[in-house]
Symmetry: C2
Subunit: 320 residues, 2 copies
């Protein structure tokens, strides 16, 4: 059910992207801005925004520009993240900086960012609500930057505690999901309580999703994951699993060892499994998603609300 809904909505978003981001002069810049957007993706954030609008009495059509804007913000962060991480491949395509060079990729991301605000400013809603949603998305973007800064900072620290990790993940991943949901509500005339519930839903589910993603990245075999297993371990990432294991005094030899062998990574994963840290993280992920779902109890029942609840479960059920 939810997968079909996601596919339907993704198609609508795909079409709207072409409408709101046509290729104009200088053509190559706009082609670079469309590069990742056209490569697809699940469109979780814009779909959540539209469902939030519908769950609070709004109409999908009126919030499609905002949905496109949020997807653009997401893609802008991916373009800049890929430069920082020196990533070559994203969504099966060569990354923007690999194709157009680093200077052009910086501009491409910046331009996507401003286009997002251009489109948001054209939202069909009361002006005061448009201003509110722009302020919200702007604060969200600042939050993403703070989270990204913390993530980089943590890689060189050995004493990151769970609360710091959760704050970083909330900012880096959850706020844009929550911001999308709340924007859908604000632009649809929702009351403060409903808008707040959708924000909370987004934060909890978003954090749960990121924790789950870290678990999946660790336990999924290479042939399914499409990249080397345990990459986070070699990169020295302070995921919840690692933080939990380190707090128990577990030694992970391959941590931060960029040239670790497959066998060394396997040993590390076994160690983490035995230590109970993978189960710990998985339980936490599911717990966060449950808390998110509870937040929606203040909303009246509707098809959109049911779909949001399904979406939350779906986000921690993917096997890849």
């Amino acid at each position: 059910m939810i997968e079909e809904v996601l596919q339907e909505r993704a198609k609508i978003i795909d079409e709207a992207i072409k409408t709101y981001l046509p290729v104009t002069y200088p053509d190559e810049m706009y082609i670079s801005m469309r590069h990742l957007l056209d490569a697809g993706g699940k469109r979780l954030r814009p779909t959540a925004l539209i469902l939030a609008a519908e769950a609070t009495g709004g109409v999908a059509e009126n919030v499609i520009p905002a949905a496109v804007a949020v997807e653009m913000v997401h893609n802008f962060t991916l373009i800049h993240d890929d430069i920082m991480d020196e990533a070559d491949i994203r969504r099966g395509f060569v990354t923007v900086h690999k194709k157009w060079g680093m200077p052009s990729a910086i501009i491409s991301g910046d331009a996507l960012y401003s286009k997002a605000f251009e489109i948001l400013a054209e939202s069909k809603s009361e002006p005061a609500r448009v201003v509110e949603s722009i302020g919200l998305i702007a604060r969200t973007c600042t939050g993403i930057c703070e989270g990204q800064w913390m993530d980089i900072d943590f890689e060189t620290r050995n004493n990151v505690v769970e609360d710091e990790y959760l704050e970083m993940v909330e900012k880096k991943t959850a706020v844009l999901f929550a911001g999308a949901l709340k924007t859908g509500a604000i632009l649809s005339g929702a009351g403060k309580k409903e808008a707040r519930a959708l924000w909370d839903f987004g934060i909890f589910v978003g954090v749960g999703f990121q924790i789950y993603d870290d678990v999946i990245d660790l336990i999924t075999p290479e042939e399914i994951l499409g990249k080397a297993q345990g990459g986070d371990i070699m990169e020295g990432k302070r995921t919840l699993i690692i933080i939990n294991a380190l707090s128990k005094g577990v030694t992970i030899e391959a941590l931060g060892k960029t040239n670790a062998t497959k066998n060394e990574v396997s040993v590390a994963i076994s160690t983490l499994k035995k230590s109970g840290s993978i189960d710990y993280a998985m339980d936490k992920a599911l717990d966060f998603v449950d808390r998110g779902k509870s937040a929606l109890s203040v909303l009246p029942d509707s098809e959109a609300k049911s779909l949001l609840l399904e979406l939350a479960d779906y986000m921690v059920q993917r096997k890849y």
Copy 2:
């Protein structure tokens, strides 16, 4: 007179920056965002924004947040430009990417960008006018990206014509100056005709300023300029002077020769002087500024209007 006014306004902006961009967690990120902002600068854009507000019946106090936002946008573009140009020094200080590294400098610029929209969204004006000014600044930022993209593109082309150069300069430099002026007018309740006049003023004066800047960069001795004379020639920049000379069939041996000797650069400058291309560019710069000043004729006389006219002249009178 205008220099004193600039100094007074710059002080107000300096103080407002501290208020609107306090250093909070993660501290180092906010310190990096303040790095260039605290290094000073003439604050031409925010000052123009405040004068435009006053010239259209507004009050400086109400548009100070917007003025700070525009200065932040300007500084965000400088941080990212310095990464692209691999510049080490800006305003006498080490550049952000040199001090914090490239990944952090990308984030620092991105965060300044979103902070600018956060602050704009808090402007004290009718919501519909706030939305209009946000849309304007967002389009302006897209324009800056387009201009920057064109500038990079032009460096590898030999057939750039004057109209292309003027479009590039309008986007890269003039739109933010014009956008600042029009924002001051919009937020102060100005009519469409007045707001448009301030935009036109900004575009013409902004283009004139950039052409003048290219001339100054060429003819000012190293001991006054603070950097090697004729850097644009060695970088192969398609300035109006170069485009004009090339269109007349003049040969500039040192063009794009990054290891050109001082003597070779001197010869190039002499050649450009003899060809009349420097005079041609200087005349164009002054002509643009005059056209900008004429655009203000639709505004009622006021002290602020007089100061804007003085500001325009000042911008093409600097000797360094």
